[in-house]
C-alpha cells in the first residue's frame, strides 16, 4: 500500500524543491539599485503622465464573463481525471459524468438567455 504513494510523495517533494529554489534564488540574488528614484514606481503609460484615476467603476459584464469562465474552467478540471482512467471506471461513471455535464450546460444556457455574455 505504501509504495503506491511513493510517486505522489516524490512528486510533492520535487515540486516543493523546485518552487522554493526559485523563490530563495530570487531572494538571494536580488539586485538592488544603488540610487533608485521614486520615478521607478510611477505607473508606466507609454511615457506619458497617466490622466484620470484607475479606480473607476467598470461595467458588470466583465465580471459576469469572468465568473462564467471560472465556472466552466473548474468543470474542465473534473473532466481530466475522469478522462484519464475512463477504461476502469465502467459505464456507470460515464453516464454520471454526462449527467454532470448536462446540468452545467443548463447553467450555461441560463447565462446565455439572461444575456450575461452579450458584449455590447
Amino acid at each position: 500500500m505504501a509504495e503506491q504513494w511513493t510517486p505522489a510523495v516524490i512528486f510533492l517533494l520535487l515540486s516543493a524543491v523546485v518552487s522554493s529554489s526559485m523563490l530563495i534564488g530570487g531572494l538571494l540574488l536580488r539586485v538592488k539599485a544603488k540610487s533608485s528614484s521614486e520615478a521607478k514606481r510611477d505607473t508606466y503609460e507609454c511615457g506619458e503622465e497617466p490622466d484620470g484615476e484607475a479606480w473607476i467603476r467598470f461595467h458588470p459584464r466583465y465580471y459576469l464573463v469572468a465568473l462564467v469562465f471560472v465556472l466552466f474552467d473548474a468543470e474542465a478540471a473534473f473532466l481530466l481525471p475522469w478522462a484519464l482512467n475512463i477504461r476502469d471506471v465502467g459505464t456507470l461513471a460515464i453516464v454520471e459524468m454526462f449527467i454532470f455535464l448536462a446540468i452545467l450546460m443548463l447553467g450555461w444556457l441560463y447565462a446565455l438567455r439572461k444575456g450575461a455574455l452579450k458584449w455590447q
Binding site: 503609460e45 507609454c46 511615457g47 506619458e48 497617466p50 490622466d51 484620470g52 484607475a54 473607476i56 467603476r57 467598470f58 461595467h59 459584464r61 466583465y62 455590447q120
Partner: protein
Amino acid sequence: MPLDAPEVPGMSGRALTPMFRPDPYLDLTDYEADADLMVLNLGPQHPSTHGVFRIKLVLDGEVIIKAVGYPGYLHRGVEKLCEKLTYSNITPIVDKNDYISPMINEQAVNMAFEAAAGIEVPRRGRWIRTLLAEIQRVASHLIAMGTFTLDIGGAIGGGASMFMWAFRDREMILDLFEDLSGCRFHYNTSCVGGQRHDITTGWEKRAVEVLSIIESRIPEYERFMSENPIFVARTRHIGVLSRDLALELGLGGPIGRASGVDVDLRRDAPYHCYDELDVRVPVMTAGDNEARFLVRVAEVKESIRLAKQLCEGVPEGPICGAKPNIGPATIKIKTGEVYVGVEGPRGELGHYLIAGGPGGKPTMPYRLKIRPPSLHALQCIPYLLPGNNLSDAIAILGSLDPVMGEVDR
C-alpha cells in the same frame, strides 16, 4: 447622446456606418456612460504607433468614445533647417523625412527646385527616376504590409511571419539600391537637374530578377492575409472611411483610393516619364482596413509591372540637366514660387517653394513647405476610432501606415 452604432444589414453592428460621422470635438460633459469613462494614452513610446505618435483615448468600458491625436514628438525643425541650406544640400535632409521611401522624397524636392529654376531634366534622368520611384514604392508597401500584420497578430501571435517575409524581400531591394548609391537608405542619388548616380550595366537585369521573385511571392502573401479568418474578422468593416470624408481630409494615396477617391498623380498629373506608361490605379470603395490593405497589395503588383516595363528600354543620354554642382552654392534661383505634387506611397507629397524673399539669398530657399501625406492619414483618427474597440485602434492605426518623420518634419 450614447454612441451606439445604428444597425445596418450586412455590417457587423459595432462598426459605424460611413453616414454616421463621429464628432472629433465631442463634448463629454453631457455624455452618460455605461460606467465611468477611462482615459488611456496610446502613448509616444508604443510598439504599434509606427514611430512616436500619441493618441489620448477616452474609453467607455472597451469602446472608444473619443480619440485625440498628438503628433510633434519627432519635430526636428526641417523646414527651418532648409531655410539655412543651399539647394543641393537639402536632398539628404529631405531623405530623412519619409524614411521608408527616401527615393521619392528626394525626387519630389528636386522637382520643385527644377520647376522654380526652370531646369530641364534629360530623358534618361527622368526614366531612371521613374524606375527608382516604382521600386521604392514596392519596398515601402512591403513595410506597410509587414508592420500592419505585426500590429494585428503581435510578435508572438503569428503576426511576425508576414513581417519577416516583407523585410526579407525588402532587403533584396535595398541591395539593389546599395549597388546604385552605396547606402541602404538615405541615398542622396537625385540632385537638382537629374540623377547623381547612373545605373551600372546589368543593374536592370538584377532589378528584373528581384522584382520577379517578389512578384511570385505576392499572391501567397495576399492569400495568407485575406483568407485568414482572424485577419478578416479584425479588418473587414473596421475603420470605415467614407469617400467625402476622405476627400475633405485631403487623402489621396492608398487610403483615399480604398475609400473611392480615384486620384493618382502619376496618371492624373503625370511627371517624370509616367505619361509614356499606362498607369492602372486600383480603387476600392469599401474604405475599411481590409480595403486599404488590398489596395496596397494591388499597388505593389502595379509597381512591379511598371518597373519591369521600365527596365527594358532605358534610353541613352546624360542623366543630369544642370551643370554638375561641384560647390554647394552653384544652383541659384532669383525669385519664384512653385508648388509641385508627387504621388508618394502614402498620398500626395508636395513641396511649396518660395525662392528669393526679402533678405533671402538666391542660393537658399526663402520658405520650403513640405506637404506630408501621413499627416492627413492621422487626421482621420478622431473620425475612425470612436465606436470601435480598443484593439481595433491598433488595427486602424496600422492600416493608415503613418510615418512620423514625415508628419512631424
